[in-house]
Each structure stands twice: as structure tokens, then as C-alpha cells.
């Protein structure tokens, strides 16, 4: 009960905070961030393909932002 009350307070704080926080990087100052060279992955097929190569040969997986399928068993 105490936990859920705390979560509600934190949640409400975040929602209200969203309105009071002024963006410190204004929309007109984001031209550099909007440059295609700043995209995390410009090409989805290539990023997914390389992730499949690594996932098929390593013990780890996840948190790379791409989804795929198959086993790469052979």
C-alpha cells in the first residue's frame, strides 16, 4: 500500500514536471541532431542483419533495438 502510494506521488510528480520543465535545447537548436548522420541506425536491414550474425554466434542477446527470428543453428 505504502509502495503504491509512493509510486502514485512519483508518477504525478513526473507528469506535472513534464509541464514545468522548459526544454533547454529549443526546437530551432536541433538542426544538428536532426542531421541523418546523427541517426542511431540509418539502415534497418543492415543493422538487423549484423545483429543476427552476432546473436547466432554469441551467448548474449537483447537491448540492441532490432528484432529478428531464426536459429542460425548450423
Amino acid at each position: 500500500m505504502r509502495k503504491s502510494a509512493m509510486l502514485a506521488v512519483v508518477g504525478a510528480g513526473l507528469l506535472l514536471g513534464a509541464c514545468s520543465i522548459q526544454p533547454w535545447v529549443k526546437p530551432y537548436e536541433r538542426d544538428r541532431l536532426a542531421d541523418p548522420i546523427m541517426a542511431w541506425d540509418r539502415d534497418a536491414i543492415s543493422a538487423g542483419y549484423l545483429d543476427h550474425i552476432y546473436e547466432s554466434r554469441e551467448g548474449s542477446r537483447g537491448a540492441t533495438g532490432t528484432a529478428g527470428g531464426g536459429c542460425g543453428c548450423n
Partner: protein, 379 residues
């Protein structure tokens, strides 16, 4: 969210044609793919992707059982994006089919822009159902025995944050749980036997895996816009699972455009992991533990990647219905080195095999070369 407007927008329509080649560790894989992405309004976009992998050869732990493999993997994905104000929803379905493995994956995610669009929070869920089989026939006369099923569920949370005019950072956590038949049927354990049973001094047997597996991966990354129009990026990922594997991945990237026609990119990646608790290169005898694995993916390993890519805008001002078009060429070299996985294909106790007693063979390692060529047209 009731604050300032400035809704999220869907990316440009595009069509891609993709070709790839992977050679290394006894495997030769070529891939071909086509992707089309189209907006149907300011709010809806549909993406379709078809990928086909053609595999010949087999990795060393399969080769050590003297089977040669030819297979195809066909992957089809349909993905729908919907944007409403500052929220983007994505629903996708992927079917991946090999002769001996069928996988159906459903993914849902939502992203929310907040705090004056400086922050984007993403939550995702993926459900994957897989049918696992084994080809006991020949290359041209496959005889598939279906062995069982495996299911996988993934829960993902991500945060992307604009920090300054030149710097963006992100963090992602993904928890994946699996259940069912999780071992690779083509890979075997080996255990010591008396040379009177097998002159090599070891025998091969079936792997036994736990039926459950849960992993957690967390990645942080940042990208910085350099003063002369170039970008530098860094990322780090930590991975741990219930099979005892801990892994670290670090990646550095650099992007350098030249005029409005060329983009040159370089990437370095270092990966290391320790072995799973039930992994051994050589067990002392058959059934010496409840769970036994000798899958090279579960061995202690490091790999290093060096990647170079060039993108050429051959139609920067567009043609026909296309706004612009680019051609990309990517070369990647990955060096794999294993810490406790030995090369029993080339070395053994016989004079021809170098006279190595079981468990003293040289450690395995290989280099892989990956080539990718693709054309992207934006419309």
C-alpha cells in the same frame, strides 16, 4: 501529456534492395533482401521486408560430426507504425522458416515524446514461438524430425535523451525469458572414453540443456555531433543470464560526410563473455552432470569487429518518383577467439592430427568476412 505541441513524425518512404555475403568458420552464407516502407497518411506507415539467407557448409562443432549442411532461411516481416500526437505505436509480425526451424514473432512497442520532446521513452514486448527440428537426411534428401518447441518473451524499456545541441544519449534494458527445447540439436558434447572404445580417446553425445533461460541486457549509448559536421558514437552493453554467462560489449563509431554525396563510416566493436556453468569442452565421462553443453556459443569467447562503410548519394536531387537515392557498401571483419573451445576437427591424438591428447588440442578461433551492398531509394 498536455504540454507544448510538436507531434512526432514518421520517417520518409523508402525502398531498399540488399545483398550480403558472410564467409568464416566453415560457413558460407549469402543473403538477399527487399524492404518497402510507405506512409498511407501522416499517421500510418506500413513496412514489408523479405530476407532470404542461403547457407552452405557448417560451423566447426557441426563439422566434427561429419555432416555437411545446405539450408535456406526465409524471413518475412510486416510492420505497422501509427502516430498519435506524441505517441508512436509499432506492431510487427515476423515469420522465419528454415527446413528444420520455424519461428513466429510478434512485437509491440510504444514510444512517447516528453519534456519538450527532449526525452523519448519506449516500452516494447515481443513474443516468439519456435518449432525446432533436426535434419537426419542428406543435403538433397532432407528428413526432418521435429523435436519440440521453444517459446520466448521479451520485455524492453528504452530512453532516448537530448542532452545538448550536439549530444544525444540513450539507454535500453531488455529481459528475455525462454522455455522449451533450447539446445541446438546439431551440436554435441564430448567426453573421455578409453582408447579401446575409440582410438581418439573421446566420444560424442547429446547436449542436455535446462528448459528455461532468462537473460537481462542493458545498453547505454551516446552520439556527439562534431564541430566540422561529423558524428562520433560510443555504446556499452552488459549482459547476464541464468546460465551463468556474463558478457560485455563496447562499440565505437565515427561518421564523416563529404560534400552532399558521400558518407564514410567506421566502427570498432569488442565483445567478451565467460562460459555457461554447464559448458565444458571435455566432460570426464558420459552423463557426468545434469546439464551438459559444448555449444561454441556458450564457451568463453572474445571477438573483435572492424567495419567500414561508404554511402554514395548517386541521385542526391532525385529522379522519377524518388526524392533521393543512395548506394552503400559495407565491409566487416570479425575475429573470434575461444577460451575453452578446442579445435577437434583439425587436431587429435593421431600423428596426422598432431598427436594431441584429448583436452590439449589448440584452442579454436576463426576470422569472418561480411560484405553488404545495398541501394536505398527515398520517395
Amino acid at each position: 501529456m498536455m504540454c507544448v505541441a510538436g507531434a512526432a513524425v514518421l520517417p520518409d518512404d523508402r525502398a531498399d534492395l540488399f545483398w550480403s555475403s558472410y564467409k568464416g568458420g566453415g560457413m558460407d552464407i549469402t543473403g538477399e533482401s527487399v524492404l518497402v516502407r510507405k506512409k498511407f497518411s501522416e499517421n500510418f506507415a506500413l513496412e514489408a521486408n523479405y530476407f532470404i539467407d542461403k547457407v552452405s557448409g557448417a560451423s566447426i562443432d557441426v563439422l566434427s560430426q561429419a555432416s555437411v549442411i545446405k539450408d535456406e532461411r526465409k524471413q518475412k516481416t510486416l510492420s505497422l507504425d501509427y502516430i498519435h500526437d506524441k505517441t508512436q505505436y509499432n506492431l510487427s509480425y515476423t515469420n522465419s522458416t528454415e527446413r528444420d526451424y520455424i519461428s513466429n514473432t510478434t512485437h509491440f512497442s510504444l514510444s512517447q515524446d516528453m519534456f519538450g520532446d527532449l526525452t523519448t521513452v519506449t516500452l516494447g514486448f515481443t513474443d516468439s514461438r519456435n518449432k525446432v527440428g533436426e535434419n537426419n537426411g542428406g543435403t538433397n534428401t532432407p528428413k526432418i524430425e521435429w523435436l519440440g518447441h521453444a517459446t520466448s518473451r521479451s520485455y524492453e524499456g528504452g530512453l532516448s535523451q537530448i542532452l545538448t545541441k550536439n549530444l544525444i544519449a540513450g539507454a535500453t534494458v531488455e529481459i528475455i525469458t525462454d522455455q522449451g527445447l533450447l539446445s541446438n540439436p546439431y551440436r554435441s558434447i564430448r567426453y573421455l572414453v578409453d582408447p579401446s572404445i575409440n582410438p581418439l580417446g573421446y566420444a560424442l553425445g547429446s547436449q542436455v540443456y535446462p528448459n528455461t533461460h532468462t537473460s537481462t541486457a542493458a545498453e547505454v549509448r551516446a552520439k556527439y555531433y562534431l564541430p566540422y559536421r561529423a558524428a562520433a558514437s560510443v555504446s556499452y552493453r552488459y549482459f547476464s543470464d541464468t546460465w551463468g554467462i556474463r558478457a560485455n560489449t563496447i562499440e565505437l563509431g565515427y561518421t564523416q560526410p563529404v560534400s552532399n554525396k558521400w558518407i564514410f563510416e567506421g566502427r570498432l566493436r569488442h565483445y567478451s563473455q565467460n562460459s555457461a556453468t554447464f559448458y565444458s569442452d571435455l566432460f570426464p565421462f558420459a552423463n557426468s552432470q545434469n546439464f551438459e553443453a559444448r555449444d561454441q556459443n556458450l564457451a568463453a569467447l572474445t571477438n573483435n569487429t572492424i567495419d567500414g562503410k561508404v554511402t554514395w548519394a548517386f541521385a542526391p536531387s532525385g529522379f522519377l518518383i524518388f526524392k533521393r537515392a543512395t548506394a552503400s557498401f559495407d565491409v566487416t571483419r570479425i575475429q573470434f577467439k575461444y577460451g575453452d573451445f578446442r579445435n577437434i576437427k583439425d587436431f587429435n591424438v593421431t600423428p596426422a592430427g598432431g598427436g594431441y591428447q584429448p583436452g590439449t588440442e589448440p584452442l579454436y578461433g576463426f576470422d569472418a568476412m561480411v560484405y553488404q551492398v545495398y541501394i536505398s531509394m527515398f520517395f
